[in-house]
């Protein structure tokens, strides 16, 4: 029985209380992360012994104040622990007892047995725990009730006094403060870790290849989903001019039903409420889906079908236009997102948007290049066709020149046809090639040789060969080279074998050092007559070869082999 103390006793009591509180405060100022629980346990023991009670304990409310948990307990000798009884229990059963505590006031029960039966379950629970008397004081921080700290008297009823209340209030304040500090530290740690995660995602999106964007988005939402412990994360994208939505990526926590199959292609209209928020570039956050306004009735039906309790959606804005959104669902329990969380998620949306925007630009560039290439092919085709018309005209002109005295004219026209065909072949190969604008020169030489072989010009028994490297030439060099080869081979065929074959005309191209080339045409015919090599420019053919060699920035060299002729063009 607690009796009113004498003044001396009061002084003594205050002295030892001050000593206790000083020691507790010191320890709470310096506690290390993760040691809070042990520190609370120790405190409960010290104050329980100090106040000579049977039990001392701490209860905490869940963040939404819907449930109650006995988190810490100390019991004196011979007193049965009760902590396991109250774990995540709905508060409604204890409404009577919690009412004063939630209002920041003290709950003081001197005699449990004297409580009216009407208060229901609370009294029975007190009795089940063997409580005779109890005193509870709220744990308050910044005006918010986190839980309460309390004493039980079990062995015999106890009348509580101002000393006990004062003690619990002081200790409650120390504990609440420490809890708040730990929660703040946890929030900070979480925030830093989430920022680190977003930074690592961001770094992966730098210079990402267009083909990898979708896979990287899927990976990012899975990582954020797992880190933030939501139940589902996903990306939706607009299609059909914004009239439909496609669920393109989804991640689900274990045991959560995927929705991507159902939501792969849905009309956008029912989501007008949420989309109108996000179209302004804002975050759409619904902490309690059940509390959505009437304007969002259609959304609410869909969210509830998916079992969503809390939802946060963030727009993906490309050039000021929303092209889709990413989102995170809480299904098993409601979840609170802070404004900071919202800002970070918005940043993720921007990272995605940036990558998608870059991919779009790449795609457009590729399409435009493709278009340009098609156009170029078409132009080569047209040029080749026009050259063929010129070829036909020369053929018709030659055919019209009748009579024996027209033979030189016909021969000249035929030579001109050869030159035109040599050029037409280049345009033909270019529009057929994979890499427009570059010509496999040997392939061209083979085709050119084919043209000669199909003509009447090759003397009987003379063989035409092509050798050389896999030289690639651009159009600027291919045309003069083609004409040079045409002239030299024509020359060899016309002048080299007056009595026919056997013989061999060889065309060869070799790539030398520093991007230089050597083009050689040689035959084993009768060779140049007299001092032909000294005045090579007297025939049109050789003059063309000389001038075209200069155009290539090279020079023509006429060799004097023992047999036949050999002309080399170095460029």
């Amino acid at each position: 029985v607690n009796e009113r103390p004498a003044p001396d006793d009061e002084l003594l009591y205050l002295g030892s209380l001050a000593e206790l509180v000083t020691s507790l405060t010191g320890r709470f100022v310096h506690f290390a992360p993760g040691e809070l629980d042990a520190e609370i346990d120790r405190t409960l023991r010290l104050i329980g012994q100090f106040a000579a009670v049977d039990r001392s304990y701490v209860f905490r409310f869940s963040p939404d104040r819907a449930r109650l948990t006995n988190t810490h307990e100390w019991c004196g000798g011979g007193v049965e622990p009760a902590m396991a009884r109250i774990q995540e229990v709905e508060i409604s059963a204890f409404a009577w007892a919690l009412q004063p505590l939630l209002a920041g006031e003290v709950l003081y029960v001197e005699e449990v047995a004297a409580l009216p039966d009407e208060i229901g379950e609370v009294k029975r629970e007190f009795q089940r725990q063997g409580i005779r008397s109890l005193l509870n004081v709220p744990l308050m921080c910044s005006g918010e009730v986190l839980g309460f700290v309390g004493f039980d008297a079990v062995k015999q009823a106890k009348r509580w006094g101002s000393r006990d209340i004062r003690l619990l209030r002081v200790v409650g304040e120390i504990i609440a403060n420490a809890m708040e500090r730990e929660a703040a530290a946890a929030r900070l740690t979480y925030r830093v870790a989430l920022e680190t995660l977003v930074a690592s995602i961001s770094s992966r999106f730098i210079n990402i290849a267009g083909a990898e964007v979708d896979a990287e988005i899927a990976r990012a939402i899975a990582e954020i989903g797992a880190f933030t412990r939501v139940d589902r994360s996903y990306v939706f994208r607009f299609s059909h001019e914004g009239t439909r939505l496609q669920n393109t990526e989804e991640w689900c926590a274990d045991g959560i039903e995927p929705q991507i199959g159902v939501l792969a292609d849905i009309p956008a209209a029912p989501f007008g409420y949420s989309l109108s928020v996000m179209e302004k570039g804002e975050v759409f956050y619904v902490e309690d889906v059940a509390a959505l306004p009437q304007a969002a009735a259609a959304e609410r039906v869909e969210f509830e079908r998916e079992g969503i309790k809390t939802l946060i959606n963030v727009p993906i804005m490309v050039r000021g236009r929303m092209t889709g959104f990413l989102g995170f669902d809480a299904v098993r329990a409601r979840r609170v997102w802070s404004a900071d969380d919202g800002r970070l998620l918005k940043l993720v949306g921007e990272i995605f948007a940036n990558a998608l925007q870059r991919r779009d630009a790449e795609d457009r560039l590729r399409a435009s290049l493709k278009e340009k290439e098609l156009l170029l092919r078409e132009i080569h085709h047209r040029v080749k066709n026009n050259l063929q018309v010129v070829d036909s005209l020369l053929y018709l002109q030659g055919r019209a020149a009748a009579g024996a005295d027209a033979a030189p004219l016909r021969a000249a026209l035929a030579q001109s046809q050869g030159r035109i065909r040599a050029m037409a072949k280049i345009h033909e190969l270019l529009y057929r090639s994979h890499d427009i604008g570059r010509l496999m020169f040997c392939e061209y030489l083979e085709e050119l040789a084919g043209l000669f072989r199909g003509s009447t010009m090759v003397p009987f028994g003379v063989e035409l060969t092509v050798c050389g490297c896999r030289t690639v030439l651009d159009l600027d060099r291919a045309i003069p080279c083609g004409l040079i080869v045409n002239e030299l081979v024509t020359n060899s065929m016309i002048h080299g074998y007056p009595d026919g074959g056997p013989g061999r005309i060889a065309i060869c191209v070799k790539e030398g050092l520093e991007g230089r080339y050597a083009l050689t045409v040689e035959d084993d015919g009768i060779g140049f007559a007299g001092d032909f090599a000294g005045a090579p420019a007297k025939t049109l053919g050789l003059r063309l070869v000389r001038d075209l060699s200069r155009q290539l920035g090279g020079e023509m060299r006429i060799g004097r082999p023992a047999v036949g002729t050999r002309v080399e063009v170095l460029f």
């Binding site: 063929q388 018309v389 036909s392 053929y395 018709l396 055919r399 043209l451 199909g454 009447t456």
Partner: protein, 128 residues
């Protein structure tokens, strides 16, 4: 007694190329029974003249190209077809050219190549 001249239908939308080809064929002893410059006209002329051979450009102006016209012709006319094209045979077959009784000759057409082809067809036609 000489063999009757081979009746050839020329299908070519480039007038000058068509004229050159016509002369070339005539020089080789053929009778050019018509010159069509599109697929539809080709079908009409073929029905009227029933040629022994067609020399046909693959690319034609209008809705029906040479390959489509050939496929249509094949349903009622067995005459061999010589396609003139810059593309290789494989490419044309891939794009739907018939595989039987066809030949491919690259443009620009060399008279020797054409002569060779006509001789091949003549030899094949003579076989019992």
């Amino acid at each position: 007694l000489t063999a009757p001249a081979l009746k050839v239908l020329v299908v070519e939308d480039e007038a000058i190329a068509a004229l050159a080809l016509t002369h070339m064929l005539e020089d080789l002893g053929c009778e050019v029974v018509g010159v069509a410059d599109n697929g539809v006209q080709c079908l009409e002329l073929a029905r009227a003249a029933v040629p022994d051979l067609l020399v046909m450009d693959v690319r034609l102006r209008g809705d029906m190209d040479g390959l489509q016209a050939a496929a249509e012709l094949r349903t009622w006319l067995a005459a061999p077809i010589v396609f003139t094209s810059a593309y290789a045979k494989e490419e044309l077959v891939r794009r739907g050219a018939p595989e039987r009784d066809v030949a491919f000759i690259s443009k620009p057409i060399a008279p020797q190549d054409l002569r060779q082809l006509l001789e091949d067809f003549a030899r094949r036609a003579q076989r019992p």
